[in-house]
């Protein structure tokens, strides 16, 4: 218990440290830092309707981040959430074309499943390459992100192109409103239920199943787990597939919910933010939920800042980046202070 408390305090210290650094940057850039940070807080959580908007962003991020946490736990550095998110949405969009006209209670689960399959598929090949040939998954999943981004450009300006669409951004034909799972505001009972179910299932998977325990051990010492008779191969591939499927599910929710279509280059920071959430939460499922609300708030503030406060939304990117810069730091100093009087390590 003490350890988990220390983890929480550590994450908080780094986030606060990053915010102070950002305040300095904003001040140097000629903005009034306290006013800017207050506007961020206001846009994220305080103004009326802010919580709903923050949750709209938090729920898909939570789903992707839980998946990222699963693969990190197993010791696989899958940074391809963005690509898996895109491919999931693309597969769901193709499935939507294929089953057009069916009854909604059949079509909606089919599309969600198609999205999960798509995401899992985009995690399958880096997983296979890693486990069969030892190809580093950081490179394959990073390259996978760019390939998925180009695939998205291709399908939205080719096979799925909306002929009535105009302007800079190519986008797909809109989804039939009968199959939408939320309006454009993006918060609906369906999405909340999906997120809660995912959260409970993943919590059980991590904390109450042999898979979860073995995967965490494998992440710490794969050789030992293998010697004890566990199939590292199966364990690793499953964690890749679960993380891919969840990112794909999040992409599908964005497609079937708030967006109603897929557009080239939509939500380009989703995967990176999800990785940050998983790291800030130190890979715990409950922590991921809390961190997702925080980063969801930042995402909603990014839309609010330029319109309501006349401040640049780049401020949010800088806050995220500063947190990324420091969140994995292992400064022994902080630990020493936190453990003061505690057990020796």
């Amino acid at each position: 218990m003490k350890d988990s408390l220390i983890t929480v305090v550590r994450s908080l210290i780094f986030v606060i440290f990053a915010l102070i650094l950002c305040a300095l940057v904003f001040q140097l850039a000629g903005y009034n830092a306290p006013v800017l940070l207050w506007a961020v807080l206001d846009g994220a959580f305080l103004r009326s309707g802010a919580i709903e908007q923050s949750l709209r962003w938090a729920l898909p991020l939570f789903i992707t981040a839980v998946g990222v946490g699963i693969s990190f736990r197993a010791g696989f550095f899958n940074i391809g959430a963005q690509g898996q998110f895109y491919v999931g949405a693309i597969c769901a969009a193709f499935a939507a074309e294929a089953v057009k006209g069916g009854p909604a209670f059949l079509v909606i689960p089919t599309l969600l499943l198609a999205g999960m399959l798509g995401g899992a598929l985009w995690a399958l090949w880096p997983g296979l390459l890693r486990l069969r040939s030892g190809t580093d998954e950081v490179i394959t999943t990073l390259m996978g992100n760019f390939m998925a981004g180009l695939l998205l450009v291709y399908v939205t300006s080719g096979p799925l192109k909306d002929p009535s669409g105009s302007g800079q951004q190519a986008s797909s034909r809109p989804l039939d409103p009968a199959y939408r799972i939320s309006d454009s505001l993006g918060l609906s009972p369906t999405i909340i239920v999906i997120a809660v179910v995912v959260g409970i299932l993943m919590w059980l998977l991590v904390n109450r199943t042999a898979f979860g325990v073995l995967a965490s051990l494998a992440g710490r010492n794969g050789t030992m787990v293998e010697w004890q008779g566990a199939r590292l191969w199966k364990l690793g591939l499953s964690s890749f597939l679960v993380s891919g499927a969840l990112a794909g599910l999040a992409g599908t929710i964005e497609f079937m919910g708030p967006n109603g279509r897929i557009a080239s280059g939509f939500l380009p920071a989703h995967g990176f933010t999800a990785i940050l959430i998983a790291l800030v939460a130190n890979l715990s499922v409950l922590g991921t939920a809390v961190a997702a609300v925080f980063f969801g708030g930042l995402a909603s503030a990014a839309l609010y800042l330029p319109i309501m406060a006349g401040l640049p939304s780049a401020a949010i990117d800088i806050i995220n980046a500063a947190i990324a810069l420091f969140i994995t730091a292992r400064s022994t100093f902080i630990d020493r202070v936190l453990r003061l009087g505690g057990r020796k390590t």
């Binding site: 030892g134 990785i275 780049a314 810069l325």
Partner: protein
Amino acid sequence: MNEIIISILRSGTPLIYVTLAGVIAQRAGVWNLGLEGLMIIGACATILGIMLTKSVGAAILIAILACVLASVLLWFVIDRLKANPIIAGLGLTGLGIGGTALAIQSIFGSQATVTAPFGIPKLGPAFGSYGVLSVAVAAMPFVVFAMWVLLRRTRFGLRLAACGEHPFAARSVGANPSRMRLAALSIGGVLCAIGGAELAAGSLQFFAQGMTAGRGFMAFAAVIFGAAHPVGATFAALFFAIVGAIGIRAQLTFGDRIPHDLLQALPYLATVFGVWLSGKLRGGAKAASSFAELRDQ
């Protein structure tokens, strides 16, 4: 034909400079995913520097200073605070893209692009149709050669590789891996500044928010595809530039009849194939990082 070569050199040169920055970091054992951020900082600082000082030389010096500072920040976080290099690098990239956007907005308001009155000097009519290229393009082969000498033929370069491959062994013969990484990242900062300067002021003379558009990551792919060898990675970057030029040409000639977007994925696919192959040949690539280590502290 000349036209195609010019367009390849134009898009390839910034990429090659940034790739060399990635190569030197890679050899020191740092996977530098901050290249994208460093490049955009270099591009932005060059344009702002030109407007401020009315001198290209001073502007490039400012850009070098900014990029080296950012690189030292990355070194501090990775080396001193023991942060994960991949996440910290991505963080630096975010800081570069967000920071330059914020800087432009705070100076020029909501303006998306900033145009400088002049750019890096051109080669001039003495070089015929190649005269439209900037001097940074002409300097590029010499820089590649210098990097090859530095990394493969000097005591510093060999020690650097030793520090990257086996820091413990390097330390035992008196090298200081931490200081070597600082040197490698700082030199990388200089190269990223020149790459960014060439991108913004070579043939364009303007800076736009997010103008690097993934070139830094493509440079990282070239580092991996070129097995972190200065010449190999340069050819990888050149190959990527050629694929890009062919894609644009195909789009102009055939319109939407061939999927040029998918053609653009070729470099990334080639990189995956290259990493897989080198893993096969060398018997498994070394894992870059372990999160378990991070969790257990």
